[in-house]
Amino acid sequence: MSEVKIRNLHKSYGSVDVLKDNNLIVENGAFVVLVGPSGCGKSTLLRCIAGLEPISSGTITIGGKTVNDLPPAQREIAMVFQSYALYPHMDVYGNMAFGLKFAKTPRPEIDARVAEAARILQLEPLLKRRPRELSGGQRQRVAIGRAIVRKPQVFLFDEPLSNLDAALRINTRVEIAKLHKMLAATIVYVTHDQVEAMTLADKIVVMNKGRIEQTGKPLDLYYKPANLFVAGFIGSPAMNFLAATVKDGKTLELADSQHLNVPLPAASKPGDQVTLGCRPEHMRLGGDGTLALKGTVDIIERLGETGFAHIRMATGQTIIAEVRGDPGTSPGASATLSLAPAQLHLFDASGQRLG
C-alpha cells in the first residue's frame, strides 16, 4: 500500500501562508496531477510530501506511516526535479546507482536494478556517459531512472517536462503515461500545463493561492467545474464568462440587455447576480438555436481544421467560439452565436457552481 494522505496541511513562511488547510488522498497506484498557476503552492505541496520543506501543521502519511518528521530518504519517495538535478561528475550508471550505494545495497542488486531501469528507459547505450554529454530528453530519462531504481512507494515529479522542447514534451508525456501503467506506480505530478494534467492524470488537483480548489477526474473537472477558477483554468482557450442577472425562473438578462432562456436552479431568485460560462468548443457560429448571442466578428484565428472566432459583444466583451472549417464570415460582419443549453455552466455571485 502506498497511499498518500494529506490532512489539514498548513505551511507558512513567517506570516505568509503558502498552503492553507490542504486535504488530499492519493490512492495506491493513482496518477495525481497538481495543477495551478505559478505561485499557487503546488510545488511547495510536493516538496512538503518529499520532506524538503517542513510543514507548519497537519499530517502527511505515506503508506499508512506518518512522515511529518522523517527526512526525505526515509519517506520512501523518489523525486524527479524540473532541472533534472543529475550529478554532473558521475556517469549515467553512477547517477542511478548513487543512492543505492549509500543505502548499502549489495553490488549485484544495484547492477540488476540499474540494468532494469536502463532497459525500461532505453538508456543502455548511455550508461557510461556524463550528463553534459546527453540531450535534454536523455537527461530527463536518467532523472526518471534514478527514481525508478530506488523502488519508492511514491514518485514525485516537479514539472519534469517544462525544460523540453514542444515535440519532445509530447513524446515524454506519452512515455511517462506508459511508465505509470507498467510500474503501477503511485505518482504525484506537478505541472502548470493543463494539457499535461488532462492527458496524464487519474485525478487532477487544481490549486490556487495555496488552496485546493477542486479535486476530480479530468473530465469531471472539464464538464463540472466546481467554481469559476477551475472553470477558467481547465480548457483552452478558456471558458467564456458572461455576467448576468436572473429575471425570472428561466430567463437571464445579460449586461447588454440580451435575454437568454436557460434552465435555472430552483433556488435562484429574480435579481440574483450570476455568471454564465460556456466553453468555446460548445458554441457555434450561426443562429438557429434557441439560445443565441449577437455580436460583431473581431478576428478569426485559423488553426486548420478548427479555428477561433473572437466575437465582440455590445458591452465590449470578447467571446471566443470555436469554428470548424471555413467559418464563412469575416472581421466586421455581425454574428450570432448559438449555445448548447446542456453545456452551460452557472456560477453564483461568490463564484461557486450552481446546479
Partner: protein, 275 residues
C-alpha cells in the same frame, strides 16, 4: 586590420611582462650553473664551457640538512593546503547552506581575517606556540598558516558553493545521503576548480614565507627550505653558488604542485547538472 594591430599590441605587452617576470628567475638559474668569478664577472651571460660549474649544487646536496629542509617545506605546504581546503570548504558549506543564528556574524568574523594581517599577532602567536610546546615543530607552522589562509579560502569557496544548484543537494537528500556525504560526494567534487585556485593561492606564500619559520621553527632541523638557504648567506661571506643552486631547486616542488593544481582549473565542471 585594426584587430590585428590590437592583438599584436596585447601580445607585445603580455610578452614584455612575461619577460620581466621570468627574468630574475632565469638569472638565478643561469648563474647557479656558473663559477663564482663568472657570477660576479658577467652575471647576465649564459654559462659557457669555461664558466660552467656545478659547485653550488654539490655544496647544497652535500649538505645533509638541505634534504630535510625540503621535506619540511613540502610537509608544511602540503599540510597547510590540506587543512585550509578541508576546513575552508566545510566552513564555506556550513555558512552557505545552513541558516543558523550567528550565520552572518560568523561570516563577518571570518572576513575580518582577510583584512587583518596575521603578522600583527606574531608575539601572541609565539607565546601560544611556546605554551603549547610546539616551538620548532612543523605542526606549529601548519596551524598558523592554516589560520592565515582560512578566511580568504572560505570567502572564495562560499561563492562557488552558492553556485551549486539547490536541486542537486535536494536530489542527494532524497537519495538518502547524510549531510557529510553530500559535502564529500557532491559539494567537494563540484568545487574542485575553486579548490585548485585556493590551493595555488595558499601554496606560494606559504612556500616562500620566511617570517614564521624564523619565529616558530628556527632550529632543531625543522627549518623550511627558505630559512635553510639563509645558512649560506653569512654576515661576511655569502656562498652565492650554493644560494643560487638552492633557490633554483626550491622552485621545482612548487612548480610541480602548481602543474598538478592547474590541471584542475577547468571551467564548466557543473555543466549538464541542471537543464
Amino acid at each position: 586590420m585594426r584587430r590585428n594591430i590590437s592583438a599584436i599590441a596585447v601580445h607585445g605587452i603580455l610578452g614584455l611582462y612575461t619577460l620581466l617576470a621570468l627574468f630574475p628567475i632565469l638569472l638565478v638559474i643561469f648563474n647557479s650553473f656558473k663559477t663564482k668569478n663568472a657570477i660576479f664577472g658577467a652575471p647576465l651571460t649564459l654559462p659557457t664551457p669555461s664558466t660552467f660549474s656545478l659547485v653550488g649544487y654539490n655544496r647544497v646536496f652535500g649538505d645533509s640538512a638541505v634534504g630535510s629542509y625540503y621535506v619540511n617545506s613540502i610537509a608544511v605546504t602540503a599540510g597547510t593546503i590540506f587543512f585550509t581546503l578541508l576546513f575552508g570548504a566545510m566552513a564555506a558549506w556550513a555558512l552557505t547552506e545552513y541558516r543558523f543564528r550567528w550565520n552572518t556574524l560568523l561570516a563577518l568574523f571570518f572576513s575580518i581575517g582577510i583584512m587583518v594581517p596575521i603578522r600583527l599577532g606574531s608575539v601572541a602567536i609565539i607565546q601560544l606556540v611556546v605554551s603549547l610546546n610546539l616551538i620548532n615543530t612543523r605542526t606549529a607552522l601548519i596551524l598558523v598558516y592554516t589560520a592565515q589562509n582560512l578566511p580568504l579560502s572560505i570567502f572564495i569557496l562560499s561563492e562557488f558553493i552558492a553556485q551549486i544548484p539547490k536541486d542537486l543537494r535536494e536530489a542527494a537528500r532524497c537519495d538518502g545521503l547524510s549531510e557529510y556525504n553530500i559535502f564529500f560526494h557532491i559539494v567537494l567534487p563540484l568545487i574542485r576548480p575553486a579548490m585548485a585556485t585556493v590551493a595555488v593561492f595558499t601554496m606560494i606564500p606559504v612556500w616562500n614565507d620566511l617570517w614564521f619559520p624564523l619565529l616558530l621553527a628556527p632550529t632543531g632541523g625543522k627549518q623550511t627550505i627558505t630559512l635553510g638557504i639563509q645558512q649560506f648567506l653569512g654576515q661576511y661571506i655569502t656562498d652565492w653558488n650554493a644560494v643560487l643552486a638552492a633557490l633554483s631547486t626550491a622552485i621545482i616542488p612548487v612548480l610541480l604542485l602548481y602543474v598538478v593544481f592547474s590541471r584542475q582549473l577547468i571551467r564548466g565542471l557543473t555543466s549538464g547538472a541542471v537543464k
